[in-house]
Symmetry: C2
């Protein structure tokens, strides 16, 4: 069962891990540096659906289809699943869930949803009695642009601090693991708000939350950045990543040698028009369930801190002049189970 | 640790329970039959805030303030908390969480959020290692009307099948219990959709999900409706409740002697203008954390099935002609811990 290290930080013992994972993405993500890591790439990002919202439903469906096939199970074998997305009322997840024969727990933590779902899944399966839990998150560039900013047809121009919402979905199966990556610890994030009000600079809004979670986790574990091959944040992008380096350094914790960001890995920022990098709940979900999972399976990584970072704004709150709260959840992945 | 009874249904053993609970509400709810059960009633439903969205933030803050005072703990003592609401991007919860020194896991399952949060809290605390978890949900009539239907100022008229979103918040502290109500079992809901497309008849959309969860739970437990003093659904209202009775009867399970609904208890439908009854994530949260919790403490109830029911629609999906999926999560409450 989980062992409490500090408030919100737990070491896991079963050992539990990511038993199987699958990731799917749109054309732009498929054309990027991680293109090879996706189980399926959709050149047509409508996925044959009548609206962008329904296209994202199909994106989730594809990720889960690949996951269940690879794991050789059916949705009726899941004890439960966590899912969330960025659409108002999380409709990609709710509408997709109609076709699954499994109990669903709906999550919302914006782009932090994937690590939240994996962390809760790991805590539940380590607790015992619950064996097989799926965690799922997605985003779709076109449904998000319409909802948070402007319909695509307006052709609106965005500043360079803005990020590109990934069209991607990731699904992971968490349970008693027989191989890497093991989930050796988790830290659930606290909501932080340093007063950023710019809807087009969410990296800056999220960096303080990422720092808070990283420092809490290192303190709870008694570890330091050099103990890890990689500390991978969800989607801070170029601006937020720069800020995180500075914030951590000012706090006496230099992460610069091991830090990277899913939003920076996902695209080729020189040749792809993505401004500050990738974002969206599907960004960290797709990178975790594709690239990162495979790197562990291929024994290219030993010990990693993976965070999903979420900006908890709504257009209504931003229009009311409110600042943007953020949260970051963390899972610690390891090539070896931990003996506690 | 939890013992799996069937897919998504678990018996709990620690014993865990609701250690403390608090509920707050607006004037209309305070004037209703359950008025006495609230810890605080706000005659001014702006709660002094500048917008309806921020008023709901204050509503959550009040519920948590009462909960922590009654439990004689601080937010820094929480291992983590679950919270959710109906605002786009769950902003009542996200913005309120800034003031809490506790790790947050954000939920979205519409009006099913409270039972979802309590069920997950119970599974986690029964698993061990995690001791003190808070579950929180809220809704505010005015923020919801603007977002899902029309701004109040339009004075739009609604059909009698429509329900009245409760201005209420409920917060519960879940952990190893030393008194009633104990949480003896939970069933996580599956998403159901029987094709209802009417935004003003969400009771009908949710009834099939409630039936599915009740029947699954009774089957998993090997129990029958007569084993319970009460089966209390979240917010089906008059239309949904009537439909649920019929659906269950047709499925060979007559619940009519023990069934009731938070949306029917919360208001005096003869003298208060609420059409089909109450709804909203705060409806079942407020009734659970006020009326129902107190009934157990006063030894007026022995064994209860409590469900929160959620309609997972968004205005965008309804405008696209899509039907309304729904989900219902269940917790079984008992005056005595169960020896398994």
């Amino acid at each position: 069962m989980p062992r409490k290290l500090a408030q919100g930080s737990f070491a896991l013992q079963t050992p539990v891990g990511i038993r199987e994972a699958a990731a799917v993405a749109g054309k732009k993500e498929g054309d990027g540096p991680l293109g090879e890591s996706f189980d399926e790439i959709f050149e047509d990002t409508t996925l044959g659906a009548e609206s962008w919202e329904l296209a994202e439903v199909e994106l989730q469906r594809a990720a889960v289809r690949h996951l269940l096939q690879k794991a050789e199970i059916e949705s009726a074998d899941l004890d439960l699943f966590f899912a969330g997305d960025l659409q108002n009322q999380c409709t990609a997840s709710g509408y997709h869930a109609r076709s699954l024969s499994a109990p669903m727990a709906g999550l919302y933590h914006a782009c932090a949803t994937m690590a939240e779902g994996v962390a809760l899944s790991a805590l539940l399966t380590d607790g015992g009695g619950i064996q097989t839990v799926m965690a799922l998150a997605s985003s779709h560039f076109c449904s998000v642009e319409r909802q948070y900013r402007f319909p695509l047809n307006y052709g609106s121009v965005r500043p360079y601090s803005a990020q590109n919402t990934a069209t991607a979905a990731g699904a992971a199966l968490i349970g008693k693991a027989g191989g890497a990556p093991y989930i050796t610890a988790v830290t659930i994030g606290r909501v932080r708000d340093m007063g950023v009000t710019d809807l087009n600079n969410m990296g800056a809004a999220m960096a303080p939350a990422a720092m808070d979670t990283i420092l809490r986790h290192l303190s709870a574990r008694g570890s330091k950045p050099a103990d890890y091959d990689l500390i991978l944040t969800g989607d801070l992008g170029r601006v937020g990543m720069e800020l995180l380096r500075t914030l951590c350094k000012d706090a006496g914790c230099d992460v610069s040698q091991v830090i990277n960001d899913c939003g920076l890995l996902l695209y080729d920022r020189v040749n792809q028009d993505v401004h500050a990098g990738g974002s969206g709940a599907g960004c960290s979900a797709g990178v975790l369930c594709g690239h990162l999972f495979q790197a562990f399976r291929q024994q290219r990584l030993r010990r990693v801190l993976f965070l999903s970072t979420g900006a908890l704004l709504s257009p209504a709150m931003v229009q009311q002049g409110q600042s943007i709260p953020a949260v970051a959840h963390l899972i610690e992945l390891s090539a070896e189970p931990e003996v506690i």
